[in-house]
């Protein structure tokens, strides 16, 4: 059958769209920057930036159920979940969703988020762009704000510059002194960035192979690609790939690849960026009318303890202070302290017992049972870049290493 030429425009449009979708990503890779060694790229990253604003997209592929709890759930769904949970756990859901910072953190780690960032010497503002809502975190010289538009709530606290400055200065001097002492020990000239880079490369080189990948275009900028590959056979991390802006040396994109999958397990990077300094008004915030404002306070226990300290402060002797310290230590002694086994990419965190706040029965709950797999000697919570082993005796081992290696460490 003869195809009428009237269909020509349709064929042309289809061809143009196909060509466009293929050509655009190819163009992104058609960048040729002067060749640099990994060391030179690291030196480039030392550059100073006065301020910037940009949009960051974060995606992760950890094989976890998407936990977009705080942004997606409404009251009805929470009620429904309450009903479905076993007896005694009804309270667990709302607190988990409403208050728990951990859930908020998990929600931020898993899934995809679009985040706008503004930063300068005046302060910083981070906006998490949720569907139909937004969370803002604002820090300026005097105060910080957290604003959640969905719940119309704000949390604020003041930043006492005087105390902070004095403390920061002291900490900096301390750190500098320690660094100078250490540098003298290893005969390193720290005033020479090149020497420092050499030293760092040397240290990293023992555990990691660092190379420079393909020059490419990202967020409208030309960038070098720094690739770090662990020299550790038990590591889950295949490589960490960092895109470094060729002009400012700012890291524009970080990808973490797992040995278990071809797609990055975690990626965070700029979609667009501008190095114009954002106006100072971006960093000031006044809660709109109708907002529930909460003043941020340190947890009650600590607050009470500090209060006692302050009250006694003037006439407290050294002896009393030591006694108080011992008392505090005794109070927290029953908490298991984490210890690190091994070093570098293969380091494993070991907890001799599950923290007492977590009831053991929780681990038998269906929700959690779904996330865990049974292995010889215990249960494993597994993601492409991290494994957690809970042994039958209640010990916890966690690290960016294979399950087999965790079992091996546990058996030692």
């Amino acid at each position: 059958m003869k195809i009428s030429k009237r269909w020509a425009p349709a064929a042309l449009v289809a061809a143009m769209i196909t060509a466009g979708t293929i050509a655009l990503p190819m163009q992104a890779n058609a960048v040729d920057l002067p060749d640099l060694t990994p060391k030179q790229v690291m030196l480039l990253m030392d550059g100073e930036i006065q301020g910037f604003s940009g949009t960051i997209v974060k995606t992760s592929d950890l094989g976890l159920p998407e936990l977009q709890l705080s942004s997606m759930m409404n009251e009805d769904m929470i009620k429904e979940m309450e009903e479905k949970l076993p007896e005694g756990f009804e309270d667990f859901v709302p607190t988990l969703i409403e208050q728990n910072i951990v859930t908020q953190a998990v929600e931020l780690i898993s899934g995809t988020h679009k985040i706008r960032v503004y930063a300068s010497n005046e302060g910083a503002r981070v906006q998490i762009l949720d569907t139909m809502s937004q969370r803002d975190f604002i820090v300026n010289k005097d105060e910080f704000w957290f604003y959640d538009s969905r719940k119309a709530t704000a949390i604020t606290g003041s930043i006492d510059m005087q105390i902070n400055q004095a403390e920061a200065e002291k900490a900096q001097l301390d750190a500098e002194a320690k660094l100078a002492e250490y540098a003298a020990q290893i005969q390193l000239d720290i005033s020479n960035p090149e020497a420092v880079a050499d030293y760092l490369m040397d240290r990293i080189g023992q555990s990691t192979t660092v190379s420079v990948g393909k020059d490419h275009r990202i967020a409208g900028r030309t960038a070098y690609q720094l690739i770090a590959q662990p020299n550790a056979s038990n590591s889950l991390i295949e490589s960490v790939v960092i895109s470094v802006d060729s002009e400012t040396g700012m890291a524009l994109d970080v990808k973490v690849y797992s040995v278990e999958q071809a797609e990055p397990a975690f990626q965070v990077g700029f979609e667009s960026i501008s190095f114009a300094v954002p106006s100072a008004s971006t960093f000031s915030f006044t809660p709109p009318t109708g907002t529930t404002v909460e003043n941020f306070e340190a947890p009650a226990d600590l607050q009470a303890e500090l209060e006692t300290l302050k009250a006694q402060g003037s006439d407290m002797t050294e002896e009393e202070l030591l006694a108080y310290k011992a008392e505090l230590e005794a109070k927290y002694a029953d908490q298991a302290k984490p210890e690190v086994i091994g070093e570098g990419w293969e380091s494993v965190i070991h907890l001799s017992a599950i923290p007492t706040e977590v009831p053991m029965s929780l681990l038998e709950n269906e929700l959690f049972a779904d996330l865990m797999t049974n292995v010889a000697g215990g249960k494993v919570f597994s993601t492409p870049i991290m494994n957690v082993l809970i042994t039958d005796s209640g010990e916890v081992y966690a690290g960016a290493v294979t399950i087999a290696f965790l079992q091996e460490v546990a058996a030692r």
Partner: protein, 276 residues
Amino acid sequence: MFARLFSASLMLSELRVMFTRRRTWAMLAAIAMIPILLATAVYLSADQIAPGEGPPFLDRVTQNGLFTGFTAMLLAMPLFLPLTMSVVSGDTIAGEAGLGTLRYLLIAPVGRARLLVVKYLATLVFALVGTFVLMIAGAIIGAILFPVGPVTLLSGDVIQIPEALGRMAIVALYTTVSMMGMLALGLFISTLTTIPVGAMTGVLVASGVSQILDNLPQLAWLHEWLFTHYWLDFADILRQPIELGSLGANVILQLGYVAVFGALAYGRLASKDILS
């Protein structure tokens, strides 16, 4: 070239036909009823709506009437607005064919490409009028029933009323842009049949399917190609600083749909024998 594709007199007569139809006015009235019903229901219910309860923005309506338009747009976006658009776009060619008037239209010295362009632009005018009717009706009923004042954006920043009205206009324009791809799809489906209802249903089903696919995480790679993908992102207009990234992506996507289905509609209409 442009003169061959566009004719002002044909456009005027097309718009005259569209806006003298009782159906058009009934649909516009129904669109206006969405914010009116919403505001009245919120006004009459004694319960205070807690933030985060019900659809987004609903709690804001009682504090500030100007939010009525945004909330109504949110409710109308998944089904009602596409429904009216499918009626108008499905009717374009199939309606004329069904009435037996298409051949008379083409006997007059009117090129088939020109007829398609004019028909399409007329549906776009309807989309523009429809979205503005919704926003304006929302603002008016909101102002009557609730206090009106500076508007709180999603970032917690507050803008004054004139700027808020500007943002409302941008949201209406954004929504019109969102409809462009669907209207082009409707135009194409309308060239395939002589039964307008069939074409209307086809477009509406397509928008439903597209929205369902957009909600399946397994098809994440497909999402940015779906014409419904950016429909609800008009919320980006309510951020400070205003976020235009999704608007830009939406414009490119919608223009792609217009190019593809416009060209397909031309291929179909120009190559077929017009018997009705």
